[in-house]
Symmetry: C2
Subunit: 744 residues, 2 copies
Amino acid sequence: MASSSSLTLSQAILSRSIPRHGSSNPQSHLASISLPTFSGLKSTPTTVSRRRSSSIPSSSTRRQSQVLASAAVETLEKTDTALLEKSINTIRFLAVDAVEKANSGHPGLPMGCAPMGHILYDEVMKYNPKNPYWFNRDRFVLSAGHGCMLQYALLHLAGFDSVKEEDLKQFRQWESRTPGHPENFETPGVEVTTGPLGQGVANAVGLALAEAHLAARYNKPDAEIVDHYTYVILGDGCQMEGISNEACSLAGHWGLGKLIAFYDDNHISIDGDTEIAFTETVDTRFEALGWHVIWVKNGNTGYDEIRAAIKEAKAVKDKPTLIKVTTTIGFGSPNKANSYSVHGSALGAKEVEATRQNLRWPYEPFHVPEDVKKHWSRHVPGGAAFEAEWNAKFAEYEKKYPEEAAEFKSIITGEPTAGWEKALPTYTPESPADSTRNLSQQNLNALVKVLPGLLGGSADLASSNMTLLKMYGDFQKKTPEERNVRFGVREHGMGAICNGIALHSPGLIPYCATFFVFTDYMRAAIRISALSEAGVIYVMTHDSIGLGEDGPTHQPIEHLASFRAMPNILMLRPADGNETAGSYKVAVLNRKRPSILALSRQKLPQLPGTSTEGVEKGGYIISDNSSGNKPEVILIGTGSELEIAAKAADELRKEGKAVRVVSLVSWELFDEQSADYKESVFPASVTARVSIEAGTTFGWEKIVGPKGKAIGIDRFGASAPAGKIYKEFGITAEAVVAAAKSVS
Amino acid sequence: MASSSSLTLSQAILSRSIPRHGSSNPQSHLASISLPTFSGLKSTPTTVSRRRSSSIPSSSTRRQSQVLASAAVETLEKTDTALLEKSINTIRFLAVDAVEKANSGHPGLPMGCAPMGHILYDEVMKYNPKNPYWFNRDRFVLSAGHGCMLQYALLHLAGFDSVKEEDLKQFRQWESRTPGHPENFETPGVEVTTGPLGQGVANAVGLALAEAHLAARYNKPDAEIVDHYTYVILGDGCQMEGISNEACSLAGHWGLGKLIAFYDDNHISIDGDTEIAFTETVDTRFEALGWHVIWVKNGNTGYDEIRAAIKEAKAVKDKPTLIKVTTTIGFGSPNKANSYSVHGSALGAKEVEATRQNLRWPYEPFHVPEDVKKHWSRHVPGGAAFEAEWNAKFAEYEKKYPEEAAEFKSIITGEPTAGWEKALPTYTPESPADSTRNLSQQNLNALVKVLPGLLGGSADLASSNMTLLKMYGDFQKKTPEERNVRFGVREHGMGAICNGIALHSPGLIPYCATFFVFTDYMRAAIRISALSEAGVIYVMTHDSIGLGEDGPTHQPIEHLASFRAMPNILMLRPADGNETAGSYKVAVLNRKRPSILALSRQKLPQLPGTSTEGVEKGGYIISDNSSGNKPEVILIGTGSELEIAAKAADELRKEGKAVRVVSLVSWELFDEQSADYKESVFPASVTARVSIEAGTTFGWEKIVGPKGKAIGIDRFGASAPAGKIYKEFGITAEAVVAAAKSVS
C-alpha cells in the first residue's frame, strides 16, 4: 500500500558506497583522472591528481577538494576569459538549440543567466556529478523554472548522467529527462520541481533551513559534517508572487546565512517591460526582510563582479543574501534580446543564425567545443573527491559519535528506526473523548521521540492546530537545532518550505499545519508536494462546520473532494484516536506521497471497531450485525461523522435492521485494495448505501451509487455554535436513519 | 437560471430615490433632525439643521455636508475628550460584551483599534447609515476580519439598521446579522467578506482601483461625481500573507492615493509575540512598494496623532498611505492586554469585571450611554445630507452629460444596456477552427463595447490568455481611465482585487486571467468571490494537457472537479465559438455568482449543434441519431474533448449505432434544470454512457453511473507535444469508441 522511498534510499546508500567500494564500482576509474590545467583555479598552477585509489580518501584528495572549494570565488586568470566566454556561450547555444529543435521553450533566461550559471556550476558549487544525491552537495534551485535549459546545459557540461546530449535533443519530448520545467523526479541533479513561480525560492528556504537545522544538531567542533550552501536563481515573476515574500521574510527572520539568491533583474516579463506592473524597489524590500543585498550591475559580462558578490555573500553569515544581477534577457540575440519575444518562444532559424553570427559561434547545434568539454571534465573527479573527503570525515565522526551518526544516517538515508510505529499511541472505546486535533498532537509528540527527522509547525495556529512538540523549543536564528518551526501567517510559503525540507534528505519528515479551509492559500505548494513526491504531512484542523462560530469563511466544504481529486496525495480523515494513529502511520510510511490529515476541532468519542490496520486499507467495516456479506444497508462515514453513522446504525439495529458501518478514512488507499477486499466492504449487490460527511457530496456518487444517498453540505457554512449548524444542515443521526429507510 | 442582482439593484435605486421622493419615503423625516451641538466639529459652534424638506437638496444641506467633510481631520475641542473616550470605551465594551455573551470571538483587536475606528466612523468617513449602498460613500474594510465586533459596534453607533442592539446580542449565532467574520451578504454596511487574512487589504486595493477608474472616466471639471476614499485596517496576520504584498505592490505601482491603510501594529499574533516569526521592517517594505508611510506611535490614546496622520495621508495624492498605528491588543484589560490570550477568546467574567473597573465603566452589558448615543446620532441626518448633496450634483451632471450619466448609472445600478447580449459573436460549423482562448478574446472585445463596467486583465499572461481589450490602453497611474489591468505575476492579489472591483459597484464586471492550473495560487480569493457573491469572470486558459510541452506543473488535472465541488460558482468549459459566447452570456448575467471559463490553448473546430442556449442549460444534446429518447449509448464531452466525442459518435454511427452526444459545459447549470429536461438529456433507462474529459474522472460517476465509463486522466500530466500526450493518455476517439462498445 504505502509507496516506499526505495529509490532515494538506494541512491543515498549508493552515494556513500562509491568511494568505499571503489574498485568494484564502475565509476571508480574516475578517481585517477587528472584535473585539467585550465581549471580556473588561480592558486593551483599545477595539475592536482589522485595518487591512490583507496577506499579511504587520501590526504591529497582532501587537499584537492579543499582547494576546489576555497578557490570557488577566486577570479580566473585573464588568459582564461576567452575560454570562460566560450563556456558561457556553449550554455547559451545549448539552450537556443534545444528550444529551437523542440520549437517550444524559453531561451531568454538561459542566454541572460549563462554567466552566473557558469560561475556557480564551474567555480562555486560543490557537487558530485556521478552521485547527484551525495548528502553534502550544495543545492541549486532554478526558481524561474521556465529557464530550465540553463540547468540542463549546466548538468550536461558538469557530467551528470541524467542529461546527455541525446537528452538535450529530446528537450520537452515524451518521456525525456529534460521536461519543460525542472522536475526532480525526472532528472537527477534537479533538487526540486519548479515552474509555478515563486515555489522554487521558497523551496530553497526549506533546503537552507534543513542545512542549518542538521548542522546545528549534528556538527561537532571537530567534525563539520553538514556544511553546504543553497543557491537559487529567481526572476521578476518569482519576485512578484506573494509566496516569495512570505518565504523570504522567514529566511530573513531565521538568518539563513547560507542561502544565496540571484535575482535575474532583466526588466522583462511575459507582458513586456516590468514597468507596466512591477515598479517596487526590490532591493529595499529585501533589506526590510532582513537580507543582505548586493547589486551586480553588469550580469552579462561582469564576471568578476559576480564572483565578488558571491564572496561577499558567503562572508555574511547571519543573513541570507540577495544578489541582484542586472542582465539582458536573450543576451546575444541581435534582434530579440531585451524584449519579451525572447522569453518564451524559439528564436526561429533566422534569429538563431543572427545570434550565431553575433556571438561568433561557428558550431553545429548542440556542439560542445572540445576545450570547453575538457575544462568541465574536472568536475567528475573533483566531485568524487568532494564526496570521498566527506565520507572520510563522516567515518571519523561515526567512530567518535556513534549515536549521533546513527541518527544522522537515518535522516540522510531515510531508513527509519526499526519498530518506530510501536511508539504510536493506542486507544480503546473507554479512552476519553477527544478532538482529533488533540489526538494528533499526542501522535506527533510520540513520533518525535522515534523519528529524528520529524520537525514542523503551524502558520500561527500552533495552539489551535495542536502541533507543538513539547520536548523541543523553537527553530530560530539562535536555536536552529530545535524542531518547532514558527511559520507565521504564511501558509503558502510554509507548504513550499516543507517541500524543500522533505526533498533535502529522505529522512526529514516535515509537517505543517493550519485550518483545513486555508489549504486554499497553499494549494499550489501542496500540488507540488504531490507532483514532486515530497512526503510532507499536512496537519489540517478545524475540518468542517464543526468549528462553529468562525463561520463560512473558515468552514471547509469542498476541500475533501478537491484533494481526493488530486493525483498522488493521500487525503485522510480519521474519526478518533486509533484512526488518527493509523493516519500518522500511513503518512510516515508514504515518503513519496504527501498526506493531508483533516482533523476535528470538536471532541469525538473513541469508537468501537476502529483500528490503525483499518486505516491502512483506506476503508473498512467498524461494525456489522449482518451475515453472509449481505447487510440491508451500509452506512458510510468519515472523520467526525463516523460517530453519527454509528449512532444511526444503533437506532436501525434496534429496529431489527442488519446494518454495516464503514469508515472511509482514505479513498485513495481504499482504491488501491484488491477487488475482493472492496467487495467484502461494499458488496455490489448491496445498493442501499448512505454516506454522511460534513462536506460536499460531490464525488460520493461513486460510493453510494445511484440508489444510495449522500448526506452532506452543498452550500457554504454558517456562523453559529457547531451543534446548531449540524442540526440545521441535517448532518444528524436522524437524517441518516431516514435516508437508510428510504433506500433499503 | 441566472441569479439576478435584484437586491443590490433595488438598493442602488433606492439610494437615489430617498431624497428625490423624500416625502413618500419612510426615512424622509430624518431630514429635519437637528445635528447635535457636540458634533465634534470645531468649526460649527451652532446647530446646523435642514430648513427645507425639498426633493432637491438645499444649499444649506450642501453646506452642512461640506462642513462635515472638511472637518473630518480637525481635532476635537479639549472638552470633548471625555466624551470621545467614552465613545471609544463604548466600542470596546460592545465588543467585550458580545464576545462574552457568545463565549466566542476576538475581543483583542476591537479593544486596541477602537480609537482609530471611532475617529474613522465618527470624524472622517462619509457614509449614509440609512443607505449603506449610497454610491459615493467612503469604503471601509476590516482586513483583520476576526475583529469584526469593532465594525459591528461602529455600524451600530452610526445608526445602520443592520446592526441593532439585538444583533449585537446575537453575535455569532445562527442566522444573525453579526456572523463570526464580516460578511457583505449578511450585513449591509460591510463592503466585502473578510476573515481569511490578507484578502481584505487586497479587496481594498480593488475598491480604490474602482474609484480611481470611475473618477477618471466620469468626473468633469465642473462635476466631481466620483470622489471617495477606501480605508482599511489590517493586522500583523494580513501583513505576513503574501497576497497583501502582491496587492500592495500593485497599489503602490498604480499610485492609488485615496487608499489609506491602518496597520494595527500590536506585536501579538495567535502564537505569541510577533518576535517569533515576524521581524521584518514593515515600514521599509511599504516604502519599497511605493507607499507613503506614517507611524502613529501611540494608537491607544494619541487621538490627535491619528487625526494628523489621516490628514497627512489625504494630502498625499499620488501614493497610497500606510499608517502604522502602534496599539495594545486588548487595551483596557488589566491582566490580558498585550498578550495572545486576548486575541481570540472571551475575556471571562472575572476579567470583564476587572476591565470594567480599569476603564471605569459602570454600565450593564451592551449599554450605550445616552451622551454617546446622542453624539453619534448626527450621522443619520448627516449621511442623508451627504447623499442628498451628491444626488443634486449628479442631477446636474445628468443634465449636462446625459450620455456619460446613462453609462455611469448602468455601472452604479448594475442595469445592463438593453440588448447587450446581441453583441456576442456567433459562429457556424464553417467558421474557422480556433482555440477557445482566442474565441474568448473575440467575446471580450465584443462585450466591452456594450458593457461599460467590463474591465480586467491577466497575471502577466495577456498575450497567452488573450485578454487584451484592443480598443483600450492600460489602466496605469497616469491613465486610470483605461480598462486593461496589468496585474503582474500576482494571481492571488489579482483575484482579491477583482472581488473588490465587483463589490464596489453592481455594474462593474471585472475579469481576470491566468493559466487554469494557477487557480491554485488564487483559490482562496476565488472562494471568497463565490461566498461573497462577487460576479468576477475568471478567464482560465491552457485548461488541460492540451497545453503540451510546459508539462505537469502547468497542466491542470483535478481543477475542473475542484471547482465543480465549490458552492456558488459556475465552472464552464466551452467547446467552441458558440459555447464560448454562451459562457460569456452566462457569466455576465450571473452578477452574484462568479464564473470560471476553462479555455483551450489548442485550436478546436466549430462543432455542429453547439449553441449559446445550450450553454445556458449547462448540458444539452449536440447530435443524436436515435429516436424516442432511447439512444444505445450517450457520449458526453466538455471543452476540447467534445470534438473527440463527436468524432467517436461519427464512427459508431457508421457502424449503425444510435448515438447521442451531450455537451456538459456546466454541471451547476445542468443541475438547476427541471427533472424533465434532465431526463430528456440523460434518460434513466440509458445506462450506457461514456464521458471524455482531459482531467480527473473524479465526480464523473454521477453522470456515467456504475455501468458507464469515464475516460479521463487520474495522474499528473507530462511534458511533450499535446497530440502525443493525448494519444499516450488515451484521450482519443478510439478509446471512446471502444468504451462505448464495452458498455452498450
